[in-house]
Symmetry: D2
Subunit: 366 residues, 4 copies
């Protein structure tokens, strides 16, 4: 595979730049080898201010605002304000993301979105970079449908879906289709943005409900783990796989933990040793293609019995790896395990960036 | 059924009285209509001290030590020190509970144990008072085997098992056998006793492992939900029911939350409305028999979508009820729901006390 | 003193009834011996709905909505909707409390307010019921100024002030004026209402700032600890006492903890034993007058070195007592200690109710 | 000043290597420009095992065990097992640190200790590297007293003292002696080691007591902020300065927050602007001397009103800076502010390492 690397850094714009996901984009893109933040967009309330002024109070990252971004003037989220950019990373909320992202697509930007609005669009990849980078092959068809030369739109998945599909992909590749997956999530508060979850609701507490989350988990996994039609014009859902989810909010800052129970379609099912080995040795296309932020080990398999834990394992692969532990037999399905993923890195901004790195490598950013 | 109530209060002894479960016994027995604490036992280190001195630093209840108990002298846990008592509540740790409880049994005490040691004994009831009070019918057989006149031993279940089997029992009674139950628990730190879980392990964190817990859940449920042989000399496991569990520790003080997925054996499965109605209207034998701390509603079905929550619902039925919420269809099994139970009341001391109330009502405490 | 008790329960109205303080009023007034909730008021959005419908999602108390209140129809906060009531408890936010409370005052209601708006009004008592019940003697003057027959307005203090002034009053009564008080607070999240503090700001964190809080502590204490002019027409500030505060938000649900350093004006300063004895034996006018929710011991002095703690001591006196611990010498001032008070009971709704009980006893509610 | 840098890395040994402070040493020394871990010591229970085996379960850092250290065999803490080392970093508990550290001193090692045992020794520097590096000038006298050629012993201060004395030193240097300092601390759980604080004691709670902590704060500050006698044979306490402390444990993982009230001896006291400017511009000897882990800005002055916060500011200066915020007038003393320091980096292992870097620069490590 001929991998393409940019000769000079590609200017990118961040939509929703003052929000939680937007802040992560800015943090993760600081000193990025491919991309440089050239414009930031936010709501009318922030537009016209310096980013450092608009974001200082709401900035909730443990690193400070990069000086170069702090000195940018916040723009309204309209394509004409981002002409210096070739790539757009969108951290917009779903209540506004639909129309704005479409406008940037039509204006020939390469758009990488975190919002749910376009995820189930039949020609838009719902792409977890460590899982289904090949879904990018639909981009020529997407462009032709929209009469575009350079522009295209890629979405990444819901944060709890993202962590789940990585080990499922490894297992599916090695052992054939999965028939049934039951998952209970314990999701971090950062997944709800800022101000997000009131402290009175979650301090010393569990909230057993996240609106719309279980439906996303149950629907998105089938698209991501599915394939492309032979002429690369349509997605084909993973056949026969059913997912049932129960989603909970827990008092953790970053890191979604998921208890997963998996049944394979093919008999005999693999042994626990085989499953463990396959998880450990899984290599994604993003790694093969040389995406710079792809983790060295996509899946880290914990050896201690009480891991993964958000507090100790959240930075695996700089937040872009999935940590799997407690791989063991299930006396109902075939195998059960616990996984942890970083919901605002791999589960949000980190995935978008990795998706863009893959798109660069595949020559799609022109 | 002729219910028996004690004419005067029955003197009881508490073993492991300075520990977390022992403290709950003392708290819950304050002003109890049947029982009065007449003796307290603990390790050699505490023996000989006033209870108020021995327990003051380790007392972690939000109510103060009842004065009458505070003035008792702590005894070593030997039957000869408890001759004033007819009933023994044991909150001993499993590393010492086995032999000590056996000694009290042989000394003709009615022993109600929280420890795991005797739970799977073929003639010892593993009794969740809101579920299988009829298992007490094995006591005559237990006595005859041990050549006892008055003594007997009843255990209550592991805290996470206890919460689970209550709604399962309601469903089984109404709709026939359950075939498969998958459960992920989110368990409170008080379940580990004191000092228990180090704060560095759980503050803002999830620990996806509790030693031995999943095995208990998977094994105990079948005994509790099973029946008795016709001559009341043996327990018969719930046939065909498989349970698979994934247990997690969460930063919650009191209250185990469980995400449950249930499949019925009989087709067609009941509707969500039928399941909900059956949970709401479930009445246990403990209620019928007039046990004073049996909750008015054994199962409270939450109507708000984000409930039950430990912080808001933990006191349902004074800690002896189970709150079930989010009863909904499962696209793999038949129904899924979330339950909450108080792990140190219904899941420990409260169950033991309720078991003893039932035993009084059935004329077993003589 | 001839104490007056109501012959039949006095109908009361709650303003801001769906908010955090309003909910506490409703919870604490359930089965109150003097008062019965006859009307509930809230914003236009809630007006016209049943209280149980308007408040069900925002109800964050561990007890359920009392049935009698749940079936009331929520009113707009205007006097004409509360004609069945003689007493008004206001849990309104300060952005609307000023005008609305004045309207109720002018309409001849006895108004008890939690808001800051009227606290420093020269004829309005700023009254901590366990401290300065005698400030009610200004009510005749207040009525005459406003040409009122029955109506009057009493405010209670800021939550962090309330806990502080109780032991300060005991010390001042026994040992004369205090000259300097330095206090650092560690305040619970419930003090900020709901949704209040975002969880991302406070989980595993400390926020060293609460807007306006230090100023309130520094100003209010002097009015509360001060006296009345001889003709009962003006308040006289505690002379010479200076208070300097540093206020912090901590991840605690209920209960403000305060580290206090105190210097007396008179030399020699009392000994630690004298200070401790005076705190323990302090009796407030509210107790003497027989207010039903006045705690038996206004100040509980903890004997264990690591107390008071919010989790263990918050319910002292049903939330209306102050727990003081660690009374010890200060090598700069004279004495230092730690106090804990329940910020939404004694620090808010509980104080208002106690104030009203005192007003009943003094014959002011007609 | 002629600064000395090591030509090749200096081999160091870690005592108490499996404990919380020991782990921090190992983490912070990974890739250190001066030092390389050559030996690790722990209790008999761990001795003889590979460090990776001995420490894997207790390792509570967010980074993994460096491979080179993991492959070392754990030694008993005796000088003969550390002959390959020239410098010893001790993270031993105070119950064993006294004798062991003395043995290493006598065996001619340069010992840097975190324990309290030798802190008040009249010839042992109690050294906060950003404050009193000049106290190292006593080492020749220390050596002569103990008849040593190369060996010496330096202690660092208690974690809560360390954060406090940094801004106090800046103020003292600029404005003359401080007369009175009142401080209330809110200290992180990591300060108590592992297992340390039980979660039942601190989750959603405040514990207003840390054994011995207030005494350390009140005593150590005077030694650190004091000087050396002219012949460098004795320490001279900061005259006239009194410190009074109230210490609290809070549910924060890392980072001690302190509310500080300061009175200067000289009149007129500096303005808030002068104080702020002096804090911002403070430069320590460790920086001047080129210590590689000395932060660029020793004191960062926060500009937002609600800072510093442990969650957001804990990594300032890679954990070796102090963040000061809310510098404002005190109406009793002269100025009050809030500070934050990293209790296991600057407050423990980081200070020891910085102290050793300074000793290298001063030519003391031979």
């Amino acid at each position: 595979m001929s991998v393409q690397q940019p000769k000079e850094k590609i200017p990118v714009g961040i939509l929703g730049a003052t929000g939680t996901v937007g802040q992560r984009f800015i943090q993760l893109l600081d000193s990025h080898p491919y991309f440089v933040v050239a414009a930031v967009g936010a709501s009318e309330r922030s537009a016209g201010k310096l980013y450092s002024d608009a974001a200082s109070r709401s900035w909730k990252q443990i690193t400070t605002i990069p000086a170069a971004v702090g000195s940018l003037t916040v723009q309204k989220c309209a394509p004409e304000n981002f002409t210096s950019c070739r790539v757009i990373f969108s951290g917009l909320d779903s209540d506004v993301a639909g129309e704005i992202e479409t406008a940037f697509l039509k204006a020939e930007f390469a758009v990488f979105s975190n919002a749910k609005n376009h995820r189930m669009d039949p020609v838009v990849p719902l792409m977890v970079p460590l899982v289904n980078a090949h879904h990018l092959d639909i981009i020529p068809h997407q462009r032709s449908l929209h009469n575009l030369q350079k522009g295209f739109l890629v979405t990444n998945a819901n944060c709890s879906t993202t962590g789940l599909v990585v080990p499922l992909k490894a297992l599916q590749d090695a052992f054939g289709p999965l028939s049934r997956v039951i998952v209970t999530t314990m999701q971090a508060i950062s997944g709800a943005g800022y101000p997000g979850v009131p402290s009175l609701d979650i301090l010393g507490n569990i909230v057993p409900y996240i609106s719309g989350e279980e439906e996303k988990l149950e629907i998105e996994a089938a698209k991501i783990l599915g394939g492309l039609s032979t002429n690369a014009t349509a997605f084909v859902e993973a056949p026969d796989m059913k997912v049932s989810a129960s989603c909970n909010r827990v008092p953790v800052i970053d890191g979604h933990t998921e208890s997963v129970f998996v049944e394979f379609k093919n008999r005999p099912a693999p042994s626990i040793e085989q499953v463990t080995e396959v998880l450990k040795s899984y290599v994604s296309e993003a790694q093969k293609i040389g995406a710079p932020t792809a983790p060295e080990h996509v899946i880290e398999v914990a050896t201690l019995p009480d891991r993964p834990q958000p507090r100790l394992d959240i930075n695996a692969g700089n937040g872009n790896a999935v940590v799997v532990g407690r791989v063991r037999e299930c006396n109902i399905f075939d195998v059960k395990f616990t996984l942890l993923s970083h919901n605002t890195i791999l589960g949000a901004a980190g995935s978008s960036i990795l998706n863009a790195e893959v798109a660069v490598a595949k020559g799609l950013i022109v």
